[in-house]
């Protein structure tokens, strides 16, 4: 692990759950990096050069080699810095970790956002139901483990930071009772455990500015009705 000649850069925006995933991984591994805050309303040449396909954050750059897509980045980090593993060593357990991380991106992220940030009431309700169903699958998958990764958090936990930190913010803004300790006792308990883990706590953005930003977005959406 020749850390001295490494050049590690992360392009991100404060308040992005996907950027946060990468920050958690880097913090866990104790990797020092340069952070570049992007302005998504005025994307830098650097971002456009390093992520020409999606033009989004996060983009991780290691010794001039750029990688976009948060879960692809997290796996890369795990394979490059091997201590404090994020994925288990058993192939079947690794496959399950990848399956559930993908599930979060496919079934939770979009639906949970639209459960609040949708103008059409019927459409919004549909997304609430879908979110509920998806969270139920995760509740069942967690069982009585401390983290999805077991005694220590892993890939699925990192992917699920969206659920632990961002969904509670959306639902407060939208007046939605979706992710509660009554509806999902195990998942809720997990979320408290996860956001209070020292590595995660240090990687999360400050709540108030994120809340304020997301609230403004909500208000401008309702105003457009």
């Amino acid at each position: 692990m020749a850390a001295s000649q490494e050049e590690v850069t992360l392009l991100g925006v404060t308040g992005s759950a996907f950027v946060c995933r990468v920050q958690i991984a880097l913090k866990l591994k104790g990797v020092e990096y340069k952070y570049v805050e992007e302005n998504l309303g005025n994307k830098s040449d650097l971002l456009l050069k390093y992520n020409p396909v999606y033009k989004k954050v996060p983009v991780f750059v290691h010794n001039e080699k750029p990688i976009p897509e948060s879960l692809v980045i997290v796996e890369y980090i795990d394979e490059t810095w091997k201590h404090n593993p994020i994925l288990p060593s058993d192939p079947y357990q690794r496959a399950l970790a990848r399956f559930w991380s993908k599930f979060i991106d496919d079934r939770v992220v979009g639906a949970a956002w639209k459960a609040v940030y949708t103008v059409d009431e019927e459409e919004r309700e549909k997304n609430v139901e879908e979110s509920f169903e998806a969270l139920q699958f995760l509740e069942n998958e967690l069982k009585d483990k401390k983290f999805f990764g077991g005694e220590e958090f892993g890939l699925v936990d990192i992917a699920a930071v969206y659920i632990a930190f961002w969904i509670p913010i959306f639902q407060e803004i939208g007046g939605l009772e979706l992710f509660t300790s009554e509806n999902f006792p195990k998942l809720y308990k997990w979320s408290q455990e996860f956001v209070n883990h020292p590595v995660v706590k240090e990687s999360l953005p400050p709540r108030d500015p994120v809340f304020a930003f997301l609230k403004r977005r909500y208000e401008s959406l309702s105003a457009s009705k």
Binding site: V53, I67, Y76, P91, Y92, R94, A95, R98, F99
Partner: protein, 223 residues
């Protein structure tokens, strides 16, 4: 590995099941294949893939896995001969990136070109062409995504060329421009000619007719 049981639950026309077949064949792994009737899903499928209820599902010694790209990585890690992914983390990241790009961007755009009409279809076709051009960049001037030999991304993406050409024929819209996307076109031809790849593919006529019927169903229900 004696005493192991390996089953692939698939559908003959599914490109996602085909990915898994290719991986198993390339590694010379013996498995049992179970054809699923998607209009009447079996109890076994619902038991093994309760989340998505789709094919492919790989069951190894009673342990089920769903999602084709997840399955491919599992196969590569469990049977190490003829590796699909490079050992280099950056090359791995690129392979994963392009495989996901196809699923997340190319497939929906091609699907929309296939199922929509009028203005919507033209817009989708334009998007599909742009995405395919972008995909071509991932080959990076090599023979295959994997370099001199096929790898993970080739297996994950290779069916796209076959399927897109069928879509082009059915809807009469060109998506892979032979001049503007010469490299992509050449890669598709190269890949589909490989013996192991060719052997697993469903017969073109059967796939064409199946997709023609599917197209009729999709477009008639939208009027």
């Amino acid at each position: 590995m004696a005493g192991e049981s390996l089953t692939l639950i698939g559908f003959w026309g599914s490109p996602f099941a085909l990915r898994v077949k290719w991986a198993l064949e390339l590694k010379g792994i013996r498995y049992q294949y179970v054809e699923e009737d998607l209009s009447n899903k079996s109890a076994m499928l619902l038991q093994y893939n309760p989340v998505y209820k789709k094919v492919p599902v790989l069951v190894h010694d009673g342990k089920p896995l769903a999602e084709s790209l997840v399955i491919l990585e599992y196969i590569d890690e469990t049977w190490e001969q003829n590796p699909l992914l490079s050992h280099d983390p950056y090359e791995k990241a690129k392979a994963r990136f392009w495989s996901r790009f196809v699923d997340e961007k190319c497939v929906p755009a091609v699907m929309a070109t296939f199922s929509k009409g009028g203005e919507e279809q033209q817009k989708a076709a334009q998007e599909a062409r742009e995405n395919l051009k972008t995909l071509e960049g991932g080959i990076e001037g090599k023979r295959y995504f994997g370099g001199e030999n096929i790898g993970f991304a080739d297996i994950a993406i290779g069916w796209l060329g076959y399927w897109v050409r069928i879509v082009e024929e059915i809807v009469g819209i060109n998506l892979i421009d032979k001049e503007l996307m010469a490299k992509l076109d050449a890669w598709i031809d190269d890949f589909l000619e490989l013996p192991v790849i060719k052997e697993c593919m469903p017969p073109r006529d059967k796939l064409l007719n199946h997709n023609k019927a599917f197209h009729k169903l999709l477009t008639s229900s939208s009027t």
